[in-house]
Each structure stands twice: as C-alpha cells, then as structure tokens.
C-alpha cells in the first residue's frame, strides 16, 4: 500500500474486506461477450457456482458457466478426463460456437497442462473419437489462476486467448493490406452492458466496419424471451474477431493487460495493426482523446451528434459545478476505472481525497496523479488496498469527504463514514440496473455528473431544517 497524502498507512498481511475479485470471474464475463461462447471453468464446481451467482446478481441475467467438476480424485490424479467429458457434454448439449476454458487455483496448483490436454482433445476430436455428436466448437483457453492478479487480469487474458485462438494464421505483417473503408478494433475493459451499447452507437456513427471485443451488451443484458435460448444471443462474432488482423488500428480501453498477453499488442506485432491504449472514455478529456482517435483511424470527422452531446455536457458542467466544486470524494475499484473516475472528478472540481484499488500495481499512483491535473490538494493513493485498510487510512488520516463512489462492496465503508455511496462499476448488486449504468462517452459522463450533483444536493437538502425546495 502506498500513501500520497502524508497519511500513515499500516500494512497488513491479510486481506480484510477485499476490493477485488478473482481472475476466472473476469475471464468468464469476457467469454460471454463472444457470440455463442460458453465458459467452462476447469476446477471444482464451486467456482462456477460462485462466479455465476456473483455475475447474475449484478447483471440479473442467466449466466451459464460449465465446470469440469473436480472431485478429490481429480485433484490428486489430474483433471484431464473430467475436462474431456465436460467438453463433450457442453459441445453436445449447448452446441456452442466456442467454449472458453479458464483455469482455477486448483488446476494451476496441481500443474495441469491444459494446453497440452487441448491439443490431445482436438486431435481426438478431429479423428471423430469424441462423444460430441459432431459438434466442434472453437476452444479458447485462458490461464487464470486466482492467486495471480484480479478479475481484471482474467478478463484481458480471456480476450487474448480468444484472439490468439481464432487468428492462428494469415498473412504476416508485411503482406497486410488495410481495407477501405478502414476497419476499427475496439477492445473494451470490464464495463457495463450499457457502456458497450454506447460504444456500439459511437462506432456505428463513424460508418466504418468495426470489431467491439468483448461484447456482452446483449448476451448479459437481453430482452425477455419468446422461446428458450440455449445461449443468449449477442456477442462479438468469431468472424469479426478474425477480421481484427485487417484493421487500421486497435483502440484498447485501459492499461490492465500485461504487455506480453495483450491482444492488441499481439495484433500489432504479428500483423502490424497499430495499437493505442487509452484511459476509459469517461470525463471530457478522456472522451476527447477517444473520439479524436476514432476520427483519425476512420479518416472521418467526429459526427455532429457527438459534438452536440459534448456541448450539452459542458453546459451541464456549467449548470452544476456550484454543487460539486470543492467537494471531496473517496473512490475505489479496479485500476482503470478508478483512474477514469479520478480524471472526471478532477474536471468537475471534486477532489478525490482517497483513491484505492485492490490490484497490486506499480502504475496506479502515477496514473492517478496524472489524472488529477487541477487539484492542489494531496490525494491518498492506495494500491493492493482492501476496504478495511481504506477505512483505517481515511479515519487515521483525518480525511474528510462528502461522498464515496464505487461498487456495492463499499457500503460498509460509506456507512462507517456516514457518507452517501454513489454506486457505479462492478459489482452493483444492491440496486437495480447495475448492468445499465452508463459510464462512458459524453453521455455516460453526463449521467455520472448528474448522479454526483444530485447525490450532493440530496445530502444537503436532507440536512435542511426549514425545507427549501430550491437548493
């Protein structure tokens, strides 16, 4: 844990009220964002159950995740047979376009060589020796031991796995031809289904072909059904993933993927697709960078629709700044998200007195400082943080704040400090519509701005003894 505000932060060996989830969870969500892909967790069935349970409480949608159902014998003798049986059964029962396998702490601890197993499986399958009723889905494998990284790393690892599996060959970089009109790759971070829909709207407005990966805007937030769906519709199409190698460029939201396991990096080095990592388009400045990059890649001006929306956001900032300027916030969550929120709050004059992430990160403090361009106050910056640690640091440092902003697990932090909790990010399971919170784009920024202002106005109004309706 680091501190940037002269606040003494006591270091603990244990994690008390974690501010992060495990990596197979992130991988499963990314896999559900690929059309017809069903996640399969190689480990004990509890992992699939817990992760389904957790994802479902946020998205309020069915999330089917298969498991290789390790028993004690499999933990001792290896889980190859279980994995093969699971692959057969999932192929036959769901006829998926793809199966996205994730490992677990269990299978990684016993040293399962899943890649080798899969080679054997695919060979056998090619020879017609599998009990899969002739269904041969693509197979992705993301190594996601839960003792390494967080759910965010798992998310990006799954993206890398899918891209690597689907784009196995093709012309090398020097033979590559950029199509006309230019094709855009947009790789997203772990965001809401509504965010992905907004990204679609933005991409579509540029009238260029694109690949948005992953895309659970429909598969994890679909309409009610007229008939049963084996796997909910939606998701990035395999063909669109294959086309990523022909793109004019890749925009990659966030910086949480490791350079050697980064789908964009791989497309860049293998096929020469230029890669730009950028912060989440949240807040005017981040959005401007995003829209400008899109415009450059598509060789088209930013459609007027967005310019107007941007103007509306500026207008709102002017209307509302008096309610939020000089206010103080405590923010936490996954690194990319917190960095983007910090940048947004800084824009509207809110000082994040504490910014924390559960991930262990060498870049977090630097990124937060960079995002805080306007504040003259110091911010307590903590990586590898947990909620107990955040509370102790905030209280111990005598930091005062007006609101707390982040996911549902910050409830006790907010309660303990007697502050309103403004829910956003993942997971949001104690309010309706976590999957529909819009964070991205000018519109998403506007949404968050309204939330921040209204939360502050409500807090103020509730303290009035004389009950004014205008505040």
């Amino acid at each position: 844990m680091k501190s940037g505000a002269g606040v003494p932060v006591k270091s603990f060996v244990s994690t008390r009220n974690a501010c992060k989830l495990c990596s197979p969870l992130g991988a499963c969500f990314a896999f559900r964002g690929i059309e017809g892909c069903i996640p399969l967790i190689h480990g004990s069935q509890g992992c699939a159950t817990y992760i389904r349970r957790y994802g479902i409480s946020h998205f309020r949608e069915p999330i089917d995740i298969a498991s290789s159902n390790f028993t004690e014998a499999a933990a001792i003798f290896g889980g190859k047979d279980n994995l093969f049986t699971a692959l057969d059964n999932v192929s036959r029962a769901y006829r998926p376009a793809a199966i996205g396998i994730t490992s677990t702490c269990l299978s990684e601890t016993i040293g399962e060589d899943v890649s080798m197993y899969l080679k054997q499986y695919e060979t056998r399958r090619g020879q017609g020796l599998c009990d899969n009723a002739g269904h041969c889905p693509a197979i992705f494998y993301a190594s996601t031991p839960s003792y390494r990284g967080t759910h965010v790393e798992g998310f990006h690892e799954a993206i890398y796995a899918a891209v690597r599996a689907l784009i196995s060959d093709g012309p090398a970089a020097d033979q590559r031809r950029v199509k006309v009109p230019p094709r855009i790759n947009l790789i997203s971070g772990l965001l809401s289904a509504e965010d992905l829909r907004e990204l679609h709207a933005i991409l579509k407005s540029f009238a260029a072909p694109y690949t948005l990966l992953p895309d659970y805007s429909e598969s994890l937030d679909g309409p009610s059904w007229a008939g049963y769906q084996k796997l909910p519709a939606g998701g990035t199409k395999a063909d669109d993933i294959r086309s990523m190698k022909d793109a004019a460029g890749t925009l990659y939201l966030g910086f949480s993927s490791s350079p050697e396991r980064d789908a964009g990096q791989w497309l860049a080095s293998r096929f020469g697709v230029p890669l730009t990592h950028m912060d989440f388009p949240l807040g005017i400045e981040n959005c401007d960078v995003f829209f400008e990059s899109l415009s450059r890649l598509c060789e088209k001006p930013v459609p007027e629709f967005w310019t107007k929306q941007r103007g509306r956001l500026i207008d709102a900032y002017i209307d509302g700044h008096k309610y939020c300027n000089g206010k103080k916030a405590i923010i936490y969550g996954e690194e990319d998200f917190v960095v983007a929120i910090a940048s947004f709050l800084d824009e509207i004059g809110v000082v994040p007195v504490a910014a924390a992430t559960g991930a262990q990160s060498n870049s977090f403090a630097h990124r937060i400082r960079k995002a805080l361009k306007n504040t003259r106050q110091q911010t307590l910056i903590m990586d590898k943080a947990d909620f107990a640690g955040i509370l102790e640091a905030v209280k111990g440092g005598g930091l005062e704040a007006d609101f707390v902003m982040g996911h549902s697990k910050g409830l006790y932090l907010a309660r303990n400090l007697g502050l309103p909790l403004l829910r956003c990010g993942f997971p949001v399971h104690d309010r309706i519509g976590g999957q529909r919170i819009l964070h991205l784009g000018y519109k998403g920024t506007l949404n968050l701005f309204d939330l921040v202002c209204n939360t502050l106005m409500q807090a103020r109004q509730e303290k009035f003894s004389s009950g004014y309706t205008y505040i």
Binding site: S14, R16, G43, S67, N69, T71, S224
Partner: protein, 545 residues
C-alpha cells in the same frame, strides 16, 4: 385448471429426457429422476442422491467450502472467520446468503460484515502459505482479540501441503485464551456443499460444543439446529418459541454466538430444521450428551404449529402445552385471513421446487396452504435419507466421495452424559407414537406421479418448464433469470434475494403475499409488443445432436 392426469405424462418426460442423453449419462440420470409412488404411507421408490455431478452438465450445486463457511459457520457473528486461499472464495461468501444477526448492543462483536482472507499469491502457492496464515491470525488477534477463530481451507490449501489444523494448534498455544480451529473444506471434497456441512458439524462438535457449562435459566431449554436466519427467519422463530414459554438456548447458526455454541450441550432438547446440513451434530450430541432430537419445520403455518406442539408435548407439561395452543390460536387468526384471501387467487396453480437439502420439502407446505399443486421437486445436494426418510439410512452405500469426509466415532461423555429421556421412557413414548431422531423425508409427503429429481440441471429444468408450464418455479439465483426469461415467476429460496422472513407465522403471511404478488403480476402480459408478429426463433437442446 388442468387436473394432474391431463398434464403431459411423467413417464414420457423421463423417457424423452433420458433419450436425449448419451447412454452413460442416461443410466445415471435414470436413477435420479424418479416418478413418485407412496405405498403404505411410507414406502417410496429408491432415488440416487449425493453422487458426483457429470462434468459439463451445468449443475446448481456448490462446493464443500460453500457448505462449511458459507452455510453452517457463516451466520455466527463472533467467531472470526479467515478464509485461507486466494481471494475469490472469501469474497464470494461475504454475506451473500443474507443471514441476519442481532448483536445485543452496538458495541457487541459482529464479524459477519467482515471478510478476512489470506489472499494467497503465487509465491505462497509455491513455498507454502502457513506463514501467511499465522500472520493473518496474529493480525486478527491484534485487531479484535476474538474468543474464537475459524480457518477455512480452499482448494489449493491441502494440495500445497498447508496444514490448517497444525497452524490452529500452534496459534492456540500462542494465544491460549482464544479457541482456534481449522476446517478442511477444500472445494473439491465430496460431491457438493453437503461435504462441507459435515466437515463443519464435525469441527464444531469436537472443538466448540461442550466447552462451557453455563446453562441458561428456564425449564424447557431447546437448541434449534439447521436454521440460518436468512431474511430474519430465526428472529421470527425466536419470537414464537419465546411466546410459548420455551427457552431457546442456541440456534445453529442463525443469530448465534460462540458462547451459545459452546454451552449448547446444557440444553434439554435439540430440534432440527435443515436435516441435511446438521443432522450429524444432532446425532453426535445425543450420543455424547444424551440430548434427544427430532425433526421440526417452521416453514408453513401448519408445520409451525405442529412443530411447536411437538416440542411442548416432548416436555409433557400441561401448562406449556396450553400456552402453546393459545399462541397457535392467536397467531393463526391473522394467518388464516391472509391465507384465505391469497388462496382465492392461487388455488390450483402449479409449482416446482429445486433447492437445497430441506427447502424443496419445507416450502411445499407453504405452497399447499394457499392451494397450490406441486408438480415436481428435487434437492440440490441432499442424500437419500432426505428423500426417502431416515428409515433407509442403513441401506445407503458409502462411496469413495463420502468416505473421504471423516465420520467421527463418538462416545458418551464420562461426566456430562445425561440422558434427558431414559431408554424405558423413550420406548414408552415411541410406542405412543412420538418419533425421536426422525425424518420422514420429502417423498412420502409428495403426491403419486410427481417427479422427484435429484441434482436437476439446466437442461432438465428447461424441459420441465417447456412441457409443464408451471405457474411458479422455486430455485436459486442461478436459475432465477432463466425462468423469468420464459415469463414464469420465480421465487429464489436460497437467500430469498430480498425480503423475509418466511418462517413462522409472520413469515407465512409474508410468503403468501409474495407468491400472490408474483403469480398475479401484470408485467408478463406485456411481454410481446402489439406489432411483434415474429417472435424470436425457438432454440432447442440436443444432447445427442
């Protein structure tokens, strides 16, 4: 409303579902999908249960850790719980089951909102995590100095050679005034969360129960076992038993404390709510301390009354029986009003339940009270005795998966064994029809030709919905949204998702109203837009392609 005979034949259902499986799976599932038939009031067909789930078949089941930490120990507030493992398990079991607790004062210890984990990293997986666990215990002691600390092992722990029990012993030597104990509840143990229940029962029995002889004041002192206070169920039960004049010594483990656990052997009687998760403890306490037990059910107004009367009758005290009858009459007045009103709208509607190790049984009572018909039910992780009744226990074949969960050998305690009912007395009462150590199971109480399905999976649930169009499905959150997508109301019966209590009398009223609201909701009428002439294409399952 369709009569049961007009519904699609259950024989056809079974045959067709099995036909869609490959032969090996079909053979296994054939023993787990049973068409109920009750003969001589007790005899039911054999069902296969507590066997491994087939990999790749999406199950509703969880793991041993979930059963141990999440279910049995999770609801107790002052045993500091440390999850030893990577971060996920501790996070996922952090208050997700909606167990409530009521500390006596604001300053009272309550660790339930606190999730402590060793958050094992790669280095510890390679070099061992015991050092980190010891450090976590040191930190827990420095922060809280709790009376007791429980350590819960997750999957990698045993595999990397960490011995949670050795660490617990060593740390107990360091902190002699703190009871520190470990649970070997690695997720791959057993075939479901049921293994974790057993692990939890064993440790609580050997390391906690019997440590304090501080008995409660009161003439009729009872422990309630297997009630986890989801949505405040235990609070409602506490209210009712107190009104009857029964002293509740402890609940395992809803709204409970360590002190209540450790002195639980001083009570006069154990009653068991969730047979599956806690019958081991009831049995062991009987053998060691001489406390008899029997099954009760506080879910359903009728079942609550029956259970209260059975407790009162056990004590054979006329005043207690009279008082209990008065409480029942008083409570039933309001219950009957709501029940009859709701019944007028729910009569004849159909329901299916796939949940738990008891709930699929208990909640049938509530649904029947408002006139609903149960088409099918099944447990997620129960054993044969929960289906067929304890009378068949001797015929249960112990397989390798069950064998690796320790079965403790228990002897009577040389000092504390005190049979509350002498063998002669017991024989007399049994002759009079009073059942001890009983559980009739779910199947004898279900209609003939209903489908009893163990470890029902997603495919089968879909088939059931498709063929029988039930008016209500009761299962867990994992099934909730797939059911609702079909436009069928779904009641989540693991953690209820929201509201409660559903136990006792007020709980029954809550439940009737909840089902009324679900079944008679307007929203499903709007499912199709008036201009929508091309509803989405129907997809179908195909296990054999």
């Amino acid at each position: 409303m369709a009569d049961i005979t007009e519904r699609p034949s259950v024989e056809n259902f079974k045959e067709e579902v099995l036909r869609s499986y490959p032969p090996k799976i079909a053979k296994k599932r054939a023993k787990q999908i049973i068409i109920n038939k009750v003969e001589n009031q007790e005899e039911v067909p054999v069902i296969q249960a507590n066997t491994r789930t087939i990999p790749g078949i999406i199950t509703m089941r969880g793991c041993a850790y979930a059963g141990c930490k999440g279910v049995v120990l999770g609801p107790t507030r002052d045993i500091l719980q440390i999850t030893h493992g990577p971060v996920g398990c501790g996070f996922y079991s952090w208050l997700t089951r909606r167990n409530q607790t009521k500390p006596e004062s604001l300053s009272d210890t309550n660790f339930m909102t606190y999730a402590m984990s060793t958050d094992l990293q790669e280095d510890e997986i390679i070099f061992g995590g015991e050092k980190k666990l010891r450090a976590a215990i040191d930190e827990a002691v420095a922060l809280f100095h709790p009376r007791a600390i429980g350590i819960f092992a997750t999957c990698p722990v045993g595999l990397i050679g960490d011995d949670v029990h050795a660490v617990a012993r060593a740390m107990e030597e360091k902190y002699p005034d703190i009871n520190i104990f470990g649970f070997s509840c690695e997720g791959y143990k057993g075939v479901s969360q049921s293994a974790g229940h057993h692990v939890a029962n064993n440790k609580v029995f050997t390391d906690v129960v019997g440590l304090s002889d501080k008995a409660r004041e009161g003439r009729f002192r009872v422990n309630i076992l297997g009630e986890y206070n989801i949505g405040g169920d235990a609070f409602e039960i506490e209210r009712i038993v107190a009104d009857c004049g029964i002293t509740l010594h402890s609940t395992f483990s809803g709204n409970s404390t360590y002190e209540e656990f450790s002195s639980a052997h001083t009570a006069d009687l154990n009653v068991v709510m969730c047979h599956r998760s806690i019958n081991y403890l009831a049995g062991m306490m009987e053998t060691r301390y001489g406390i008899p037990w029997f099954k009760v059910n506080f879910v359903g107004a009728g079942a609550t009354s029956k259970s209260l009367l059975k407790i009162a009758n056990y004590f054979e005290d006329p005043a207690l029986i009279k008082k209990t009858e008065e409480v029942i009459a008083r409570e039933m007045e309001e219950v009957a009003k709501v029940r009859d009103d709701v019944k007028s709208r729910c009569q004849g509607k159909t329901a299916m339940l796939y949940v738990g190790g008891s709930r699929a049984h208990h909640y049938q009572d509530l649904l029947k009270e408002i006139g609903m018909t149960i088409l099918s039910a099944g447990y997620e992780f129960a054993h044969r005795d929960d289906y067929e009744g304890r009378k068949i226990m001797s015929s249960i074949v112990v397989d390798a998966d069950s064998r690796n969960i320790e079965e403790l050998t228990v002897e009577p305690d040389p000092e504390r064994y005190k049979p509350r009912v002498t063998p002669e007395e017991r024989a007399r009462r049994e002759a009079e029809g009073f059942a001890f150590s009983d559980y009739r199971g779910m199947m004898p109480e279900m209609d003939n030709q209903t489908l009893v399905i163990d470890d029902c999976n997603h495919y089968e649930l879909e088939e059931l919905i498709d063929r029988y169009h039930p008016d209500l499905v009761c299962a867990g959150i994992k099934e909730k949204y797939v059911v609702q997508k079909h436009g069928i109301p779904m009641k989540q019966l693991h953690s209820y998702d929201y509201m409660g209590p559903f136990a006792g009398y007020r709980g029954a009223i809550n439940f009737y109203r909840e089902i009324d609201r679900l079944l008679n909701s307007n929203v499903f009428k709007f499912a199709r837009a008036p201009w929508d002439e091309n509803p989405q294409i129907h997809a179908s399952y195909g296990f054999n392609g």
